[in-house]
């Protein structure tokens, strides 16, 4: 873990913006505004590490990973994966690179097609790339079949179940199917969008352990989203804290939890309950007032201004830049100027 900073980044996101237009009018549509879901974020992900992204709902975590996977066309900025800018690369090249980027989704009920068998779900990525002619020609139906069986065993599903349908599995098992599907193409990076938040506590730890093992075994890189801070701390090498489409703080996981700098990170950490009554009842909470404001309007000051307990005059009119505090810790706040 100590030589992370010397590695070259596998994924680099530069000033990524993802705005969704708000349209009005019935026949003649015109744009009346934009939801600024992701509003200019930059970060890098090194090979073999896990970047955790935390934040409240609506802060743009999911949009960020979907933009990285090119499920949306970003409004501006670039996503450089393995030296290729996915946003501007020709389609063929983008598809080829994207083979190495796979996703695991939050809802194991909605992310599997109920009419497909487990075998076709897990084999589908391989089938698609085979039809595109982007796989090794030696990979035929039989090889895919074998690979599906291997994957099922690896994620802890009995291979005898390959002809079953998703409704015959429980939530945790479905999530395993989703993980097997993500592994099918031997990707370099997996974007996991809240993969454990829909699961029961006892199942959650099974899935976290599985993801942990797979990372070691295949040398995978993860971008892992969760709103549960304890889960993020457990799985991540580095953590980015997002608020309203901006990164507020980016740091090594251990440093962030020991020494949070941004007022938002502090509040977030103090709000997360700890399962120990002795500690939990003695803690001081920073209770934020109000709710997350609407991301529809353009902001000229700090994005956290409305809810910040330490706001200053300056914060209202100036957007704080990302400031490097030490080698592994960056924060966007005027307090640390």
């Amino acid at each position: 873990m100590s030589n992370i900073q010397k590695q070259k980044p596998l994924l680099e996101v530069v000033d990524l913006k993802q705005h969704f237009p708000i349209e009005s009018g019935f026949i003649i549509k015109r744009q009346v505004g934009a939801v600024r879901a992701v509003d200019g974020i930059s970060f890098t992900v090194n090979e073999g590490e896990t970047l955790g992204i935390v934040g409240e709902s609506g802060c743009g975590k999911s949009t960020t990973v979907r933009s990285i996977a090119q499920l949306y066309k970003p409004t501006s900025g670039s996503v450089i994966f393995d030296g290729i800018d996915l946003v501007n690369a020709p389609k063929e090249q983008m598809l080829d690179a994207r083979k190495n980027i796979q996703m695991i989704f939050q809802d194991p009920y909605a992310s599997l097609d109920p009419r497909m068998t487990v075998r076709s779900i897990i084999g589908e990525p391989l089938e698609i790339y085979r039809k595109r002619g982007m796989l090794d020609p030696s990979i035929d139906k039989e090889v895919i079949e074998k690979r599906v069986e291997e994957l099922m065993e690896r994620v802890g599903l009995n291979r005898a179940f390959k002809n079953r349908y998703p409704h015959e599995f429980s939530g945790g098992q479905r999530q395993r199917i989703g993980i097997a599907r993500a592994l099918a193409l031997n990707p370099k990076i997996i974007l996991a969008d809240e993969p454990v938040s829909a699961l029961d506590v006892s199942i959650q730890s099974q899935i976290l352990n599985l993801l942990h093992d797979l990372q070691k075994e295949f040398g995978l890189t993860y971008v892992f989203i969760a709103h549960d801070l304890a889960v993020i701390e457990y799985i991540s090498t580095r953590v980015a804290v997002m608020y309203l489409g901006k990164i507020m703080e980016l740091s090594r996981s251990a440093d962030l939890y020991k020494n949070p700098l941004h007022p938002y990170t502090k509040a977030l950490l103090s709000a997360a309950p700890i399962p120990d009554p002795e500690i939990e009842r003695k803690r001081k909470r920073i209770i934020l007032t109000g709710d997350v404001p609407s991301p529809n309007k353009e902001r000229f000051g700090c994005y956290f201004y409305d809810r910040c307990p330490h706001r200053m005059e300056k914060c209202k009119t100036n957007i704080p830049p990302m400031k490097r505090i030490d080698e592994n810790h960056e924060v966007a706040c005027w307090l640390y100027e």
Binding site: S57, V201, S202, H227, A272, I274, D276, E280
Partner: protein
């Protein structure tokens, strides 16, 4: 009725004894709640923890007698509220208790308010249903309640529609409604699951403050062990329709006795302790509660399973200070050899 009740003496505000709620389905009888007992006193906060399908919500719907029948049925047990069995009340007597004496907050603030009606209409309706007041008085009371739960500009906001409120605000409105009739018991069914951590902290703080101020007893249903640690005085851990462990919060976390409770507490990653390597995990899946055999339902997943666990349900053993556990590990020798 109220005179008769006043003369009765009772030791606990709410006492549930051997409650069984079954559902009839095509696949068989689902024993959603299978013989549970607990008590609740004034001002106490009781936590009910368990995974989905463990029967937490059905327990509380049974207390309110909100189980849809068919397919559901409360087949056995008694629920004594101030010494009176709720299960024996008529529909009109029930209506007096629901909302008035025991009220409920549901999990999803998005769907528990009527989107077509203004907040004011919904709150006034609730209050006037239970109390003999005029519209004006009810409105004043509603505004007061909204202020109490911390809604800014309550006089204006009360005339808004639910969609004009955010999730956290809607949950506040629900709490205001639930408390507007000064209920003695507040049942909160996963009140913060749909909310973000910062909003969750606000709402939990609010429930705690209000219960202290109004001396309301609270039943908090949750799957989050962190929330329980901060809020509850007593905790019941449910598994497959049964309470497997019941203890004071401090005792439960200091000495989790049932292997399931132990596993649950161990398997959550913790913010305050850095962990490397693997998390403890409970293997396997939660059981299907249809036609459960009369053994310990946790035995296929238990890391301390013994032979007897596969054939008989363990007796409940009191470990002192109200710490009860249903596990063969704690049973006496004599009970082991029995049969």
């Amino acid at each position: 009725m109220s005179i008769a009740k006043a003369q009765k003496t009772y030791t606990h505000l709410l006492e549930v004894n051997g409650l069984k709620t079954y559902f009839k389905t095509d696949a068989g009888i689902v024993k959603a709640v299978d013989g549970i007992s607990f008590t609740l006193d004034q001002g106490e906060t009781l936590g009910i923890v368990g995974e989905s399908g463990s029967g937490k919500s059905v327990t509380n719907l049974s207390i309110m007698r909100l189980i849809q029948s068919p397919p559901g049925k409360i087949v056995d047990g008694e629920i004594l509220f101030e010494g009176e069995d709720i299960l024996k009340l008529s529909e009109s007597e029930l209506r007096h208790i629901r909302g008035n004496e025991i009220s409920m907050i549901f999990q999803d603030p998005m769907t528990s308010l009527n989107p077509f009606l203004r907040i004011s209409t919904q709150m006034i309706e609730t209050i006037r249903l239970h109390q003999d007041v005029t519209r004006k008085e009810a409105l004043a009371k509603s505004i007061e309640m909204l202020k109490l739960v911390g809604i800014p500009a309550a006089e204006e906001r009360i005339h808004n529609y639910p969609h004009q409120f955010s999730g956290g605000m809607r949950q506040r409105v629900m709490i205001a409604m639930a408390l507007s009739c000064e209920a003695k018991i507040l049942i909160a069914d996963e009140p913060t699951t749909a909310l973000d951590v910062t909003i969750q902290a606000q709402i939990l703080e609010l429930i705690q403050d209000l219960s202290k101020k109004l001396n309301t007893a609270v039943i908090l249903i949750t799957h989050d062990l962190g929330v329980v640690a901060g809020m509850c005085d007593t905790v019941c851990v449910m598994y497959a329709g049964k309470i497997v462990e019941k203890a004071k919060t401090h005792d439960l976390y200091a000495k989790p006795s049932h292997p399931y409770t132990f596993g649950l507490i161990q398997s959550v990653p913790r913010l305050d302790k850095a962990q490397d390597g693997k998390l403890f995990s409970i293997e396997g899946q939660p059981p299907n509660v249809i036609d459960l055999p009369p053994c310990c339902p946790f035995h296929p997943r238990c890391h301390k399973v013994m032979d007897i666990c596969r054939t008989q349900y363990p007796p409940t053993k009191d470990l002192g200070n109200g710490h009860e556990v249903s596990c063969w590990l704690f049973a006496d020798k004599k009970e082991h050899s029995h049969e």
